[in-house]
């Protein structure tokens, strides 16, 4: 069943046309990975879904409802969470404050919080610390935790492994596998090994268009396609 549909989505940033007509269906459940070279339009795709840049023309449909042109806050309220590439944590706020801000009613659902502690133990340890004092990996954990502190149907995550140590990347992969049991993750990722380890479906964005889409297992097995679309060598 399709959760999110992008239909001929074109996005301009200033005078530059970045997306030239992205059409893509994201099925419900699992991890869907957007791959592509630098500057291909992956981040712009996520930001356009989130309403941070408005696609004109084109449309975005979420759970069957057209969300094109809605305010970012209204899109978020429909059940879409966003973890930007720069993580977007509030450095002057504590870990607790960062998380409580993302709750719907200003208080934690304790079972959910315990699940987050289990996924990211460092957050409990640094609960009262200001977020700027966390390491890069801990900040990424906080950013992801903030996206799942309330039940969300779709979580958009932009390059979560960038600059992280291998052990943190492994922990992040484990966390994404668990999160994808109850939510759909649309993941932008440059690290193909990480992407193929957790992705169920994938698409390659190239020059603002979808160049390829399909099951991750098929793409992972086709080295020639990888070489052509991502310049990856086997």
């Amino acid at each position: 069943m399709t959760l999110l549909s992008l239909n001929n989505m074109k996005t301009d940033i200033g005078q530059y046309a970045v997306l030239h007509g992205v059409t893509l269906d994201i099925p419900e459940g699992g991890v869907f990975v957007l791959l592509g070279r630098n500057g291909a339009g992956k981040t712009t795709t996520l930001r356009s879904i989130m309403g941070l840049w408005n696609p004109t023309p084109g449309s975005v449909t979420f759970r069957g409802a057209d969300i094109t042109g809605l305010h970012t806050a209204d899109i978020a309220r429909k059940g879409i969470a966003y973890v930007p590439e720069n993580m977007g944590i509030f450095g002057g706020l504590t870990v607790e404050e960062n998380l409580i801000l993302a709750t719907d009613k200003g208080r934690f659902d304790q079972p959910r919080l315990k699940r987050i502690y289990a996924l990211f133990p460092a957050l409990e340890q640094f609960w009262t610390k200001q977020a700027w004092s966390l390491s890069g990996g801990q900040k990424q954990m906080l950013a992801v935790a903030r996206a799942i502190i309330e039940p969300r149907a779709l979580i958009l995550i932009d390059e979560p492994t960038k600059g992280l140590a291998p052990s943190i990347v492994a922990a992040m992969a484990e966390a994404f596998r668990e999160i994808s049991q109850s939510a759909t993750i649309l993941l932008v990722e440059q690290n193909f090994h990480f992407a193929k380890s957790i992705g169920r479906d994938m698409a390659v964005i190239d020059d603002g268009l979808v160049a390829h889409a399909g099951p991750m297992a098929d793409f992972a097995a086709d080295t020639e396609l990888q070489e052509r679309l991502l310049s990856l060598s086997a």
């Binding site: 970012t72 806050a73 977007g88 509030f90 801000l101 700027w132």
Partner: protein, 330 residues
Amino acid sequence: MENLSNILGRMGGVYLLPAGLALGAFVLIGAPASWATLTIAGLSMGMMVFLMASGLSLIFGLMDVLNFGHSAFISFGAFVAATVLSLLGGWVGADSVFLNSMALVFALLAAVSFGLAAGWFFESVIIRPVYHDHLRQILITMGALIVSEQIILALWGGTPITVLRPHFLEGAIILGNVSVEIYRLFAFGLGLVAFIGLYLVLNRSRIGLLVRAGVENREMVEALGFRIDRLFIGVFMVGSALAAVGGAMWAGYETLITPALGGEMMIVVFIVVIIGGLGSIKGTLLGAIMVGLTANYVGFLAPKLALASNMILMTIILLWRPNGLRPAVK
């Protein structure tokens, strides 16, 4: 050097600066009574400037808006309060603390109401079309300031207006050899109450959490499901109301006001916001107290340098900390 910095940091860091400044002035002035009078005057001036500057700092920090029209709220606050005090002249001069207080409350309420309404109008009509465009913000808010000054000129005329002070705030308390003006004590107290109120709202409420988060990253606050544009209006209105109250208190302090009051104060207010660090209430308080103390001490020790003292202070602090003493985390 690093150890010294760490030790100072543990002892209070930049919050020690006013104490250090006061200590240095004590040595230079020599006379304890004069020093105490100047210190109280400086703290009082600092608190009034804090009232005017806190709103600008939040507006600048949260909304990224360069509002040169902020001084219009200071001017209007002063003139509205002066008019109310003049209309309630019988209460102001009565030998009753209750009637004096009521006159003061009505004057401050009028300034606050005007600030809230004018802030709403200013944000909705003048600022909203120029978000994300600093050049246009400067041009349009400067234009709005000029128009505001002309409105004041048309309504109240160009002749300086005498501001009545409630009777119970006249006079001074004598403590040993130190004479402390009651009005200055009141201004200090009001500024302190405003600071504590702002601090509690910003640190103990969900709205405050949103404002602090919005100062750092507006886009992310929206991505969490909050309409920050609605928060902007609220912050702008509160900021304008605080400026109006600051203007009202300053009017009582000066007792003679002209339409140029806001423009004159704006330089000091900008210095305070820059020294303190954008978007930070604690930084604004620190900057305001530093400016108040410096102006009074330098005015006494080297009167010829008085006008330049705050500029010199700003230069020194920016050379040391280019983002100000306590900027909000960005």
